[in-house]
């Protein structure tokens, strides 16, 4: 059973936002909203600073609170790869999922439904990479099957230090940040 996820190399991300723009273009994300965004995490006191740049998006959690709280079943786990998707025609825009997501990954599309990263499932089904992965100029975004020990993502996770976002939330994200 495939489980799609990502390994994102924070030592190579330069915060160029090509991923943000590629996603907007590929998925017609409305102006003022983002499915992908860059977080600049700065720790320390001048001049001893540490900065981590992260390309963030929906974490396609294995324990997705946005699916559990959806009253209509619009928010669901797709058969392929455990990708979390929204069936826009079933969505009533109640915003329960917006409130439930600890990562603020969702937004209400002006057309009235909850919207977020889809791992470009329309591309993945055809054997292509998600748009953000395809354009990254430092090739720091890796997408693949976490259940396949020989996949690129699995090999990165087995050889590099990594962390997920807010593990204490218990959502079990499938996006791992390599440090």
């Amino acid at each position: 059973m495939a489980r799609f996820g990502m390994a994102i190399d924070t030592t190579k991300c330069v915060g160029c936002m090509d991923c943000v723009v590629a996603c907007k273009t590929e998925n017609n994300v409305p102006e003022g909203f983002n499915r992908v965004w860059i977080t600049t995490d700065v720790q320390g006191k001048y001049p001893n600073l540490h900065m981590q740049m992260r390309s963030e998006r929906c974490n396609h959690c294995e324990s997705p609170p946005c699916v559990y709280c959806c009253p209509t079943g619009a928010s669901h786990v797709h058969d392929l790869g455990g990708v979390v998707l929204v069936e826009d025609e079933l969505c009533i825009g109640c915003k329960a999922c917006i409130a439930s997501c600890p990562y603020d990954a969702r937004f209400i599309n002006p057309e009235g439904y909850a919207d977020k990263c889809t791992f470009c499932i329309h591309r993945v089904e055809k054997g292509e990479e998600p748009a953000c992965v395809a354009v990254c100029p430092t090739r720091c975004l890796h997408f693949g099957d976490l259940d396949d020990p020989n996949s690129e993502v699995s090999r990165h996770l087995n050889s590099r230090r990594h962390h997920t976002l807010m593990p204490e939330a218990g959502t079990k994200p499938t996006i791992y940040y390599l440090t």
Binding site: V42, K45, Y46
Partner: protein, 106 residues
Amino acid sequence: MMDENEVWINADVALRYELKSGDYVRLKNQDGVVSNRIKVKATERIRPDCVYMVHGFGHNAKGLKHPYMKGASDAQLQTRYVIDPLMGGTGINMNFVTIETEVLHG
């Protein structure tokens, strides 16, 4: 991708001026030129003796719709400069500013 630029002020300096991120200030240079209001970003990411702002904002030409009267112009504050006689490049690193905090109307 931004509506207005912000002036990056070292976090300790901001504290001394009783400023926090989101407050508005003006910058005044050595020749008395005062900038538009600009939003403060208090951050550890800059030296205490410098301020930074993204170039291109604070325009007063109506045709530049996006930055028209949004943010402040660094170019407006660069009143001292030297020009390379061969290729026209400019040296603008002799402009200094003070932070003018807004006076609350009584």
